[in-house]
Symmetry: C2
Subunit: 310 residues, 2 copies
């Protein structure tokens, strides 16, 4: 006998929307998703995008509770959920959720806020804070720096459910920009060759780790290497990726020691970051991003109900 | 009485083509140009693009000599002029010019090579080497670092006509990429306000000068500053420009002392770089880029004829 869905957890990012129907014990009963991320929706289109996805889940009759994290709560999203200010206890995310009016739809929706930092370097996150909250359950008692590789990588200092401060590195977006739109694009497109790519990656990562101040200068070596040394596209793509990640990790070098740094992100990215952390004399501890966001949504959901019954 | 055109000097870049009809003393008799840069031409289209521009100059009857520098000599240009290898004497550019076949057209065309660096950091330039050669005439005996701000800024170590080594920083292209294609574009477009822009520029330049290793991290402050502090588009555009230029200058800080650094580039860019050099405890000495390239073409032209008559 399968359990029935008690509530729905949703991670609504810029590019995608993912929904999990969860049972009474927080177990996943069913999941569904779509590419209707915030970037493709006007505010009025969010309710229909959500019901389209929920139609793929075996929902019980009657009203269903939906807890959302991510860009749906941005100013240009469904309904703005004003930031929680760091330093903060991430358990307080639940109490700051906003509830968009649903008319006669049988859905009770709560959208969690992101976290901002106004002092010591303005910064914002939406979605990652829920993964960080989840980390407090996946790695109980963890205190230290956490790295979340991605389009906009986040580095956060965590102590249990408490976030002290964080930064953002535009590493992934920079790679995409350079590969798609820059003069370097001529050196980067071609057949894949993993060995050449790995070789280029290590070469770039070493340069980034050793000369993070010279990123603007080292980038052009992608083009010069093709013109002068017949560097192949996979080597050049690896070099560029390694250079950017090496630069990012070097800039954060004073935030970690030799203890493993939790890495929350895609498997591929976490492997690359772990490789460069090794080169920097440290190590990485990959954490599955989906497990982290689900753990965070479960904690926030429990907190929401604890708050209501108190 | 006006002098007549003895030969034509051409600076053929990626975006534009500029031609000057020069008299016997190297004086400018007339000039013309078009937007038919290398980026818009297939190799076979170069002769017609040149004659279209030359039709606007009062050329003498009979064959005319044309000396070209810049991207026309690139592999993807008109005819490849293989690089001169640094370290090198820039007077040797003339002897390495290539001569594309012109059929029965009454033009005798020579295309100067660029300069490459194979040891100590692969690098290439095409066009800037002729400006550097010109600098040896505009600032006789200059020895030291030269900065050439632009889409791909060059930093070259010069001693008279001798180039020891050089680097390239993708600063200008990075600004354009981020302004046009990145998530930061939302924070950058709006009405101009020079005072706000200057304020943002100084703030970004200070951060770049002090933390060049953290460029990837500081970029996102453009977005966070808009979201959290209502930073205006001109302030944000100034901040981004200052951050990038400050980072570039900090990365080259060990190459200059307190002596003025020659700056060859557009008036606007040279003013910004001079401002940041001041903040870094040094100073800049703006040199007009057109004067520099013309001086270089004149020197190369003289060398070409000196070589022929010897």
């Amino acid at each position: 006998m399968t359990t029935s869905i008690e509530w729905v957890a949703v991670d609504w990012g810029t590019s995608n929307l993912r929904a999990w129907g969860l049972g009474a014990e927080g177990d996943i009963v069913a999941s569904a998703g779509s590419d209707k991320g915030m970037g493709k929706l006007a505010p009025g289109q969010f309710p229909a995008a959500l019901t389209d996805v929920l139609a793929n889940l075996p929902l019980p009759a009657g009203p269903v509770e939906v807890l959302v994290c991510g860009m749906a709560g941005a100013r240009q999203g469904w309904m703005e959920a004003p930031y929680l200010d760091a330093p903060a206890d991430l358990l307080d995310l639940a109490g700051r959720a906003v509830r968009p009016p649903m008319g006669d739809m049988p859905l009770s929706v709560s959208i969690l806020p992101g976290v901002c930092q106004r002092q010591g370097g303005e910064n914002v996150m939406r979605g990652e804070e829920t993964q960080l909250l989840g980390l407090s359950e996946l790695v109980p008692g963890y205190a230290g720096i956490v790295c979340m590789p991605g389009t906009h990588s986040k580095w956060a200092v965590l102590n249990g459910t408490h976030i002290a401060r964080f930064t953002t590195a535009m590493t992934g977006e920079m790679f995409d920009l350079l590969k798609t739109h820059s003069v370097l694009r001529h050196s980067l497109s071609g057949p894949l060759d993993d060995a050449e790519r790995d070789d280029g990656f290590d070469s770039g990562a070493r340069e980034g780790l050793n000369h993070p101040e010279d990123l603007l200068g080292r980038l052009f070596k992608v083009r010069a290497g093709m013109l002068l040394s017949d560097r192949s596209p996979p080597w050049s793509a690896g070099y560029l990726s390694g250079l950017l990640i090496g630069t990012e990790i070097a800039a954060n070098r004073n935030q970690f020691g030799t203890d493993p740094v939790p890495l929350i992100g895609s498997t591929v990215l976490c492997r690359l970051y772990a490789r460069v952390l090794d080169m920097a004399g440290a190590s990485g501890r990959p954490i599955d991003a989906t497990e982290a966001v689900l753990a965070g949504l479960r904690l926030a959901h429990a907190r929401l109900h604890q708050g209501k019954s108190s």
